[in-house]
């Protein structure tokens, strides 16, 4: 058992917990996109970033992966955190301007849209990887993976062909935060 401070509030936590888990255990909300309790944390969207101070040094980390420590001080809503959160959502909105879920999240967090312009309209997929991890860890089929790299990264089945290994459990469609991956007529439809 150890104690840390989140937004000025002292709370208890167990060794091995992440800051996100500790925050949620006392009802402190931190927004996430690529995180799900049932899956291993990935740390890709960076939306759950918080400011931590440890041994006199302050830095930004992702709360879904950062381990709690005795005496850790966490700020979940400082100006620096809000600034980063805003930047991340704006980038995602520039990527997927048509996504209702992203727009709604922006409204909830009080973030203005469209600041970064030059939208490339990549449909709805935000490359959070939840579908890939669900297929690996829940269905245990590993049908899905990321192909390519950088801005060309995409969720794919091997060779973009329908996979015989897919058992149509639909875990991927269920867990997708933006409805980018889905099933139509019983067939898996990869994000555009």
């Amino acid at each position: 058992m150890l104690t840390l401070t989140i937004d000025g509030k002292e709370i208890g936590a167990h060794e091995g917990m992440t800051v996100l888990e500790a925050a949620r255990s006392v009802g402190i909300q931190i927004p996430t996109l690529c995180h799900h309790e049932a899956l291993t944390s990935y740390g890709a969207c960076r939306l759950c970033s918080v400011e931590v101070t440890q041994r006199g040094r302050t830095k930004l980390v992702v709360s879904c992966l950062f381990p709690v420590a005795q005496g850790l001080e966490v700020q979940t809503n400082s100006a620096r955190v809000r600034n980063l959160r805003s930047g991340i959502l704006e980038l995602l909105l520039a990527r997927c301007p048509g996504s209702e879920e992203l727009q709604s999240l922006a409204t909830t967090l009080g973030i203005k849209q469209g600041e970064f312009g030059f939208a490339q309209d990549s449909g709805k997929c935000i490359l959070c990887g939840l579908c890939v991890r669900a297929c690996q860890e829940i269905a245990e089929k590993s049908v899905l993976s990321f192909a390519g790299r950088g801005i060309d990264r995409r969720v794919a089945t091997p060779f973009y062909k329908p996979s015989d290994d897919c058992i149509t459990c639909r875990a991927c469609a269920f867990i997708c935060p933006t409805r980018a991956i889905r099933f139509e007529g019983g067939k898996l439809m990869l994000p555009d």
Binding site: Y42, A44, R46, S49, L91, L127, I151
Partner: protein, 625 residues
């Protein structure tokens, strides 16, 4: 020194190693003529293979094979002047040698004692010709404790390495020092990682030694990805045993029995020479089980990269070693605790490993005498771009930028003005002429918006557009981003679009502010160092060359004459003699001949601004503005 022995007897003790060394040295005749030729990738690209072949053929035809040896060595660093040939024992230094020169060299300088003037290095600053290698200003002003050995060894010969004292540090470590004593000595030397991070090596090894787990890994990061940097290539190609010896010592220190070389796919010669080194060391019992008869074992494998700059980042590299894509992960738990296959791992850069045997040989005190208070030893820099003496420069830490660029580098070619030097690769920044007095070490350049990084130094002159440079680095990183995290993947894409617009005359007044905001998102939010430092080239060029950005945006003009959309080519009718070279060169038929010896005419609407006419014209009759 030439070693004609090929030993295959396993060495079972330090005494046997010493005995082998003695026998190699004794068989060497220091007065024998040896022709030393650089066979590094750079010189090979400049035709060294033909030079080597020509020497061997000529010696054969003159029946001199018994009296004259040919030694192919690694890169000594004077790449601008290759192919490089040194005639020992007199150390006559010939540069830019071609196969056609060989008969003359043999006849005049080998059989007789004459010097061939035209092959000597001539210092452009005072027109002085230099005869002996040690007097070449480029080398003389350096402190070549690492690179200097490249010329003493044929990288495929373990005997050469043993002859110059190789593996004696390993013997000392295995039989006279405890692992903790080795770590303490490296700590005392204050050796810091040479790959860019500058982390204290001794501390890293100490943490790894104390980390939980019986299986530990040693890794050599030879994924030198910074464009323009080739120090590690020269070391690994030219003296692979020095790196291997360092790794075995490190393995002993941390308690590891297994290691990896991770070499860029784009360095096939380094991969091959490392492979040969591993094979020979195993044959001689200097690697593998029970090294030198001790009870310490260490095995090493060589992995190649797949063309991904991000794999130079330690967690990415380890993912790639596990057969996965090169995706970094958060380093909240350090790789020295949980790294490759979740085991404690010590990853160090090629140059760092190469420093280890010499520190143990000469002692931490000797090492600390070189360099500055916090940055000890030497650093090898690759000096490239608009510079007279392109090549590798090894100097004590703390040497000033201007000394490296002007004294050793010979300044800017063609009488052009220095504009900036990019240091630290895509993670670094540009340093303008006002800062040339700064000393180069781990800390000084960081204070002005750049960093020393792995040692790449790209010199730029008045004809370089700094906005184009920023765009180049952003485009590079866009292509190399793994794509996992939002700030890097999306942020770099946006930055690239904005910079493209600026260089094409579509820049907007708000662009600079947007670039600054994006750079904060990258710095604060990106997952790994690639993303976190990705905005540095943009920010540093904005810091020192903001006016160039503003001219591009407000006036739609490129002062340096680089940005294609903002320049135009024009025929200067008075200077044109109608030779027609440009007509032939033009890919879009924009230039039309008006008859023999009549000035040509250009249809600008067809001009694609490729610059071919500008390149071929010998009359200076094409203007670029």
């Amino acid at each position: 020194m030439i070693t004609s022995i090929r030993s295959t007897v396993r060495l079972g003790s330090p005494l046997q190693l010493e005995a082998l060394r003695e026998s190699i040295v004794q068989k060497n005749d220091p007065s024998k003529c040896v022709i030393v030729i650089c066979a590094g990738t750079g010189c090979l690209a400049a035709g060294a293979a033909d030079v080597i072949r020509a020497f061997k053929e000529e010696l054969k035809s003159k029946n001199l094979e018994d009296r004259v040896d040919v030694k192919e060595t690694g890169c000594p660093g004077f790449c601008e002047r290759g192919p490089l040939v040194v005639l020992r024992p007199r150390n006559i230094f010939y540069q830019q040698v071609t196969p056609q020169d060989i008969p003359e060299i043999i006849a005049e300088s080998v059989i007789q004692d004459k010097i061939i003037d035209r092959l000597l290095f001539c210092d452009p600053r005072d027109n002085r010709t230099i005869i002996h290698e040690e007097e070449v200003p480029f080398y003389e002003k350096q402190t070549r404790i690492i690179l200097g050995n490249n010329e003493e060894v044929d990288p495929t010969s373990i005997e050469d390495y043993i002859a110059i004292g190789g593996y004696s540090s390993l013997a000392k470590v295995l039989f006279e020092m405890t692992p903790q004593e080795v770590i303490d000595e490296i700590k005392r030397s204050k050796l810091r990682g040479r790959g860019g991070g500058g982390f204290p090596t001794g501390v890293k090894w100490d943490t790894c030694r104390n980390a939980h787990g019986s299986t530990k890994y040693i890794i050599c990061n030879a994924d030198e990805g910074d464009p323009g940097a080739f120090m590690d290539r020269a070391i690994l190609e030219g003296n692979p045993h020095s790196v291997l010896e360092g790794m075995i010592i490190g393995a002993y220190a941390v308690g590891s029995n297994e290691g990896y070389f991770y070499v860029r796919n784009e360095y096939p010669l380094a991969v091959e020479n490392a492979r040969i080194a591993v094979e020979r060391a195993e044959e001689l019992g200097l690697l593998g089980d029970d090294i030198l008869g001790s009870d310490f074992s260490f095995h090493v494998k060589i992995n190649r990269g797949g063309g991904a700059f991000v794999c130079g980042e330690s967690t990415s590299l380890m993912a790639s070693l596990e057969g996965k894509v090169g995706e970094p992960r958060a380093k909240y738990i350090h790789t020295v605790e949980r790294g490759l296959w979740d085991c404690p791992s010590t990853l160090n850069n090629v140059e760092t490993w190469a420093n280890v045997p010499i520190i143990l040989k000469n002692g931490a005190d000797w090492y600390c005498d070189i360099g500055t208070e916090e940055s000890k030893g030497t650093k090898i820099f690759s000096l490239v771009g608009k510079i007279n003496n392109t090549g590798l420069v090894e100097v004590p830490m703390g040497t000033r930028l201007e000394d490296i660029i002007f004294n050793i580098g010979g300044g800017i070619p063609n009488g052009k003005m220095f504009k900036a030097v990019q240091t630290g690769g895509p993670s670094g920044g540009c340093i303008p002429s006002s800062m040339l007095h700064l000393p180069v070490d781990f800390d000084e350049l960081g204070k002005v918006g750049s960093m020393m990084g792995s040692g790449g130094m790209i010199v730029m002159d008045e004809d370089t557009c700094m906005v184009d440079v920023a765009k180049y680095f952003v485009n590079f990183l866009e292509g190399e981003s793994c794509g996992k995290c939002v700030p890097c993947r999306e942020g770099l894409k946006r930055m690239g679009q904005i910079l493209a617009a600026i260089t094409e005359g579509r820049g907007r007044e708000t662009d600079i502010i947007t670039l600054e905001r994006l750079s904060v998102v990258l710095k604060e939010g990106a997952l790994c160092a690639l993303g976190q430092t990705a905005a540095n080239p943009v920010m540093s060029t904005l810091q020192y060359f903001r006016d160039e950005y503003e001219v591009h945006i407000k006036e739609k003009r490129c002062p340096a004459g680089v940005c294609r959309a903002l320049i135009r080519y024009e025929i200067i009718t008075d200077k044109c003699v109608g030779c027609g070279l440009c007509v032939k060169a033009c890919p879009s038929e924009a230039i039309v001949s008006m008859g023999k010896k009549e000035p040509v005419v250009m249809d600008e609407s067809k001009c694609i601004k490729c610059g071919a006419c500008f390149d071929v014209c010998r009359m200076d009759a094409v203007d670029k503005e």
